[in-house]
């Protein structure tokens, strides 16, 4: 087993275990912590595939932003406002059926496909290339996303504002 394999399996196991904690736990905070480690596992795999910029951004946005907001919302409603949020099991048998069918199809496809193997990417600086591409070839999508985010921001600020008296 090479170092690459070892690292890959370590991160995969971390991701899968914490993702299953996230899915199966009844406690929302435990789910969030599971999600945290799943994000880290994915970021580790990104680094392994020489996408270090993507890994850092993944941790920054998902852990530093989205997960914090999620925890914030859950905690404010649970411990302070006294609302009891628990995840429960609904529609157990239909869900099992749907998941089973999807799983069977996916495994079938995964086994049937002839995967073409890529040579392992060398660790090389990626941030400059990404920056250049964003400012040249993908400028329009980049600007459209910026405007979309700005609109969302303005909308959020408007909804959060108290009614003017």
């Amino acid at each position: 087993m090479t170092t690459f394999d070892f690292t890959f399996y370590a991160f995969s196991i971390l991701t899968l275990l914490s993702a299953s904690v996230m899915v199966f736990s009844k406690n929302l905070i435990h789910c969030a912590v599971g999600l945290l480690f799943a994000f880290f596992g994915i970021a580790g795999i990104y680094v392994l595939l020489a996408a270090d910029f993507l890994a850092a951004v993944q941790v920054l946005i998902y852990v530093g932003g989205i997960l914090v907001l999620l925890l914030f919302g859950v905690m404010l409603s649970q411990r302070i406002a006294g609302v009891n949020i628990e995840t429960g099991t609904l529609q157990f048998i239909p869900a099992l059926l749907v998941c089973g069918v999807v799983f069977a199809i996916l495994t079938h496809l995964a086994l049937k496909t002839r995967w073409s193997l890529m040579p392992l990417a060398e660790m090389a600086p990626t941030s400059r290339t990404i920056g250049n591409l964003l400012m040249t070839e993908y400028l329009l999508p980049f600007e459209i996303i910026s405007i979309l985010l700005l609109a969302a921001l303005v909308g959020a600020a408007f909804m959060a504002r108290r009614e003017a008296r």
């Binding site: 270090d52 910029f53 941790v59 530093g64 914030f72 941030s127």
Partner: protein, 350 residues
Amino acid sequence: MQELIASILAGENFLSDVPPVLITVVFMSAAGLLFASLAAINALIAVYLERKVSAHMQDRLGPMEVGPHGTLQTLADAVKLLLKEDIVPQNADRFLHTLAPFLVFAAAIGALVALPYSSAFLFANFDIGVLFVISITSLTVIAIIIAGWASNNKWSLLGGMRSAAQIVSYEIPTALALLVIIMQVGSLNFQQIATAQTGWFWHWHVFQFFPFNLIAFLIFFVASLAEVNRTPFDLPEAESELVAGFMTEYSGFKWAVFMLSEYANMIVVTGVGAAVFLGAHQSPFGNFMNGGVWGVFWFVGKAYGLVLVQIWLRWTLPRLRVDQLMYTSWKVLTPFAFACIFAVGLWMIL
């Protein structure tokens, strides 16, 4: 680190029979342990400094009993903390209560690894150094919220909440102030940022593009104070309101881990400040005592100089109110940081 491992694996030596996976794992663990102990030594020194500086500022002597001038006081405190009973509240979430301090510590060590201590030996030379430090420290927020929640105590929870709101708000001016310099260097790599500041001290970024870089540095410094929960931004552990904030229910070793990470984080933010604005490991006097091991001397010296300023501010300024805290971040620091980016960008084009 990777080069070191690669050179060991390539050479014919007594390690040739050991599987490479094992060597990598052992070396990585050793590096982790090295940084954990560095963090511990840093806390010993910084806590002593904090006590002595505060004492002299208040016309006291501070610790004087243990060792000459009380130099061994923090060591004695560390031993005491290790021997203390570990108390977990009855209805606390035991697992998360234990996990939280170690998550904070992991984030602090992760950030310490990336700092540019010298041009000669690099522990980790990333292309994305600055971004890595910013992103790995965001783990601290989560850990503090978890600590607050898992303690099952309203003070802890409120402390954790305040901390999260504060750190999330102040991350923005911190990152924007760093962006001013990153724009000038054109790289996120700490080593390249250091190389861009070679020469006498007026080549440091803080003195370039006067006054915009200086303003960016001040914004960074103020925001970084808030990021590490130092006075005047220590609302998460405001003792007059929240007992000890998110640390209320922690005792013994876990509390010690929190303190270790707090002081390690101080070095992280001052280290980033020193690296980006104050010439990193470069000597302030041209080629005088420059490069190699001297780099460590200058880098640690600059970082500790900024730590002294942090300590000085802590014993000078009163704590802010929550609304003042938010006002400072969103209505003062963030707009000024944007103005700096705009001005420097214009200057660079013209």
